[in-house]
């Protein structure tokens, strides 16, 4: 016969709770939230139910990282416990909405709250450094998104010291791990930018990036943060709080680095263009010289022509003044004294005549 165990209520509850914790450590419930309420601004109470049963849940407001409302579908992680008043309760350590509808509702509620606080204001955004040499990455090294990022980063640029904080990027533990990684980088201040990366996934997979504490940690980071989470269409609250949002991890690598292939092309093109510039300048200088020579030649010719034309005029004048010309026109030159009885010489174009002066009188 089994011996009877006598325990005080306190001892009984302690043993019971010990057994419950041992049997259900890390149990997760999934169901719908009902009777959600917050007491004294500190304690959160709600039930998680399915079609047949309901479990009372309890947690601190501090642990509630995403807004909850009655009717939301959630995953709840915690430990079953019997309180000192003998009431069964599920002490929640983490809760996350699941399913598209609940996630969307929770997202909208938190977005509104944080927008009102100014967490997503454009004035808060800082630019990425132009000369990146030290980069912090927060991602899962096993994720495809991380591999894409590394591939594009290495193809585009080099000389960067990349420190990778390996964390989960989905699930209930992901937000705290990412927060720790962000704090790690911020405490050391060794990197110029932090990139939070995760490839595409379902709304449930990406839900961890809508965690309130994570979003606040991103907004409070001393080091600029770029996010590359999911695909173009996936917009998380982490994206909104980050300084720069890339549409994907690959896009984050593109935004962080210049492309060395295009720099090579630009460098070579600029040198080639210079070659053409020099050739054009040589051609232009040579054209200028030829033009100057032509102008000089035209000037000299003009001066010679002017001189020749002047000379011709003078020749014509000389020609006109030539006595032979005058004689040719029928005039004659008379030489000698012109007194009656004197003999004078008369020169015509063809003849020389001696004649005697008969009479001299005034005209």
């Amino acid at each position: 016969m089994q011996s009877e165990i006598k325990l005080t209520p306190t001892e009984f509850l302690a043993v019971t709770n010990q057994n419950l914790e041992y049997a259900f450590s890390g149990v997760t419930l999934e169901g719908e939230v009902v009777s959600f309420k917050i007491n004294q601004g500190k304690w959160v109470f709600f039930d998680v139910k399915d079609a047949g049963s309901s479990v009372s849940c309890f947690m601190t407001l501090f642990q509630l990282r995403m807004p909850l409302k009655d009717g939301m579908k959630v995953t709840v992680r915690g430990v079953p416990k019997v309180t000192k008043w003998g009431k069964f309760s599920f002490t929640v350590t983490a809760v996350m909405p699941v399913g598209e509808g609940s996630l969307k509702k929770s997202y909208e509620l938190l977005k509104k709250k944080l927008t009102n606080e100014g967490l997503f204001n454009v004035e808060r955004k800082r630019p990425l450094p132009g000369d990146l040499t030290r980069l912090g990455v927060v991602s899962s090294v096993d994720a495809a998104g991380y591999a894409d990022f590394v591939k594009i980063l290495n193809a585009r640029w080099g000389g960067i010291d990349v420190q990778v904080a390996h964390t989960q990027v989905q699930g209930m533990d992901a937000p705290d791990q990412i927060i720790r990684a962000l704090k790690y980088f911020n405490e050391r201040s060794e990197v110029q930018v932090i990139a939070i990366l995760r490839g595409g996934g379902s709304a449930d997979d990406l839900a961890c990036f809508n965690d309130e504490e994570l979003v606040r940690t991103i907004a409070a980071s001393k080091i600029p943060i770029i996010t590359g989470i999911g695909h173009e269409v996936d917009e998380s609250l982490a994206d909104l709080a980050a300084d720069v949002r890339a549409s994907t991890p690959s896009n984050a690598a593109e935004m962080l680095t210049p492309d060395k292939r295009s720099i090579k092309i630009t460098v070579n093109d600029s040198v080639l263009r210079v070659k053409n510039v020099v050739l054009n300048k040589i051609e232009s200088a040579s054209r200028e010289k030829v033009e100057k020579m032509n102008q000089l030649s035209r000037d000299i010719k003009g001066r010679i022509d002017n001189y020749a034309s002047g000379l011709e005029q003078k020749l014509k004048i000389l020609e006109a003044l030539n006595p032979e010309g005058i004689l040719k026109q029928g005039y004659a030159i008379l030489t000698g004294k012109i007194f009656p009885g004197d003999v004078v010489k008369i020169t015509t174009y063809k003849q020389e005549i001696k004649a005697e002066i008969k009479e001299v009188y005034e005209r």
């Binding site: 980063l153 080099g158 990778v164 904080a165 990684a181 070579n268 040198v271």
Partner: protein
């Protein structure tokens, strides 16, 4: 001269050299020498770019705790 310069400094230097060809300071007598310098610097930049490698280190820190 450019051995001790960073890649960024080399690219900036090349930009300056290229700009000279388009500036009023351009002198045909010096153009050949300047062009030669620019070509050599461009080759150096291309070589530096080809040799650039990233150093990726996964931190030993355990962020799950």
């Amino acid at each position: 001269m450019s051995d001790k310069m960073s890649l960024k400094q080399k690219i900036e230097l090349l930009d300056d050299k290229i700009e000279w060809f388009y500036s009023d300071e351009f002198d045909l007598a010096k153009a050949e020498e300047k062009y030669k310098e620019s070509t050599e610097l461009a080759k150096e930049i291309e070589k530096d770019l080809s040799e650039l490698k990233n150093k990726i280190e996964v931190l030993a820190e355990d962020f799950s705790k």
